[in-house]
């Protein structure tokens, strides 16, 4: 903004047509604060108005063109100069000329492709935004409006359990099992740890959720590990034959869906880390990747389906056929 006393300047702002009805989602900014932004999904139209308000009444605003862009870009923090735009759409609102008074321009980006989910991480940011620009001789006037995009999935067809026997020969053998390999963000990890051989003095056992953000390619790959959750599942010394249950509710943690090789620039993957700690603070651990996905809001389920599931919780495996039916209806 330059106020040299001469020349007209203007304020520019962007308003969405469905601002009243569209949902907002909370998203963490780079400095850790949480803000709310309009939420969009892949394929949705982005339409609205650009308001240009002249600041000095009476004076004309000369410009070299007014446009609005819809941009989806990946920003690597160590390489701020280079933005990798994977979506870039432009709409010209006005050809070069003059504005004699404040004006409003309509725009519509129809059925915009938004292939990836918005992500703000430790070393990389993926964001979508609208940018309205008034081009001028010396300096442009522009305004950006960030939006948040979420990618939704449905229940995966194949979702096998994870079951493995691991250990240190003659010292510690365990068999761990997690009920699924793919979990949605509000899912529950149900599992168990079965002790086959215990020749060390275990003090307690915990399960951690680790997020690994990978940026860069080839020789300059960088992994940033972050322990999102630590959850103690056992306190005390187990012996052979003991089974320790796991029930970890994911909704309480700040998780994103698994993102694999996004635009060949970065990945965000999640791992379950099973950690056993012995009396001398030695740690024995086994890491296992899980896939996280975002489930869309479901249609209200019928009362009978809910009652069936609630009944199974107490009956055990008696209602196996009812559970299969409930799963099918859900898909």
């Amino acid at each position: 903004m330059s106020f040299f006393g001469f020349g007209q300047t203007a304020e520019i702002d962007i308003v969405l047509n469905d601002a009243e009805t569209r949902k907002k989602a909370e998203h963490k900014t780079e400095d850790g604060k949480k803000d709310k932004y309009f939420l969009f999904y892949d394929g949705e139209t982005v339409s609205g108005k650009v308001n240009v308000t002249l600041k000095i009444p009476g004076k004309r605003l000369e410009h070299y063109g007014i446009k609005i862009e819809f941009v989806g870009q990946i920003e690597l923090y160590y390489d701020r100069g280079n933005h990798h735009e994977f979506v870039s759409l432009v709409k010209d609102l006005a050809r070069p000329g003059e504005l004699s008074q404040s004006q409003t321009f309509d725009f519509e980006f129809t059925h915009v492709e938004k292939p990836y989910e918005s992500y703000t991480g430790q070393n990389v940011k993926l964001r979508y935004f609208l940018r309205a620009t008034i081009s001028r001789r010396l300096n442009d006037i522009s305004k950006e409006m960030d939006i948040v995009v979420q990618t939704l999935c449905t229940y995966p067809e194949l979702n096998s359990s994870i079951k493995m026997e691991v250990g240190i020969e003659d010292c510690l053998h365990i068999e761990f099992e997690y009920n699924k390999s793919k979990y949605h963000l509000r899912d529950v990890i149900v599992g168990k740890i079965y002790f086959l051989l215990v020749r060390i003095k275990i003090k307690h056992m915990e399960i951690d959720i680790i997020k690994r953000e990978t940026t860069g390619t080839g020789p300059s790959v960088y992994h940033e590990n972050d322990t999102i959750a630590k959850y103690e599942i056992m306190d005390g010394a187990p012996v052979r034959g003991e089974s320790i249950p796991i029930r970890l509710f994911l909704a309480g943690y700040e998780l994103t869906p698994t993102m694999r090789d996004i635009n060949k620039k970065f990945s965000v993957r999640y791992y379950l880390n099973l950690v056993l700690i012995d009396e001398e603070e030695r740690r024995y651990f086994k890491q296992q990747e899980i896939t996280l996905w975002r489930k869309g809001d479901i249609v209200r389920r019928s009362m009978s389906q809910q009652a069936t599931i609630a009944a199974q919780r107490f009956e055990g495996s008696n209602s196996e056929s009812a559970s299969a039916q409930a799963k099918e209806e859900n898909n």
Partner: protein
């Protein structure tokens, strides 16, 4: 309007535990005591030995019970062997107490009762920490230290199981 799904949080099926496993002795029994310090010799050639008694049911140890006498330099030898041959971070030994070995002290120096007790406790903590480490249990030097009458410094270092 959407309603939250009723989450399926049933436990996974597991084998019931055998009662002899549940109530029997644990398979990780390992206790080492360092006690009974005895100062041997006279004048400047004195040194203190400690009794190192081990009781265990771990199959990797040949003897389920053993009792040997060791001095501080034997513990130092063990620490050096483990640092050289195994990949583990060896815990620290109680201090060497050089100052106490200088002449013209008002007290008994390294044969002072309180010092010996401090050292005894430190050695006990050291050996228990080491003996419970799965990688240290694989080293022949540890087995020789705990279960053989005397330490053969010309032994051939190596692993106990391949």
């Amino acid at each position: 309007m959407s309603e939250p799904t009723v989450a399926d949080t049933r436990r996974l099926n597991s084998k019931p535990q055998d009662l002899t496993d549940a109530y029997g002795p644990p398979s990780n029994f390992l206790e080492i005591d360092v006690y009974d310090p005895q100062t041997i010799g006279v004048g400047r050639n004195r040194f203190t030995t400690y009794e190192v008694r081990m009781r265990t049911n771990l199959p990797i140890f040949k003897l389920k019970e053993s009792c040997v006498r060791r001095r501080y330099s034997d513990f130092e030898w063990l620490k050096n062997e483990l640092e050289r041959d195994s990949k583990i971070v060896v815990p620290p030994l109680p201090g060497k107490a050089f100052k106490r070995q200088l002449p013209f002290r008002g007290d008994e120096g390294i044969f002072e009762e309180s010092f010996i007790e401090e050292r005894r406790a430190g050695l006990e903590q050291f050996i228990n920490r080491i003996a419970g480490h799965p990688l240290a249990q694989n080293e022949r030097c540890l087995h020789m230290f705990l279960q053989e009458e005397s330490i053969d410094r010309n032994y051939i270092p190596g692993k106990v199981r391949q």
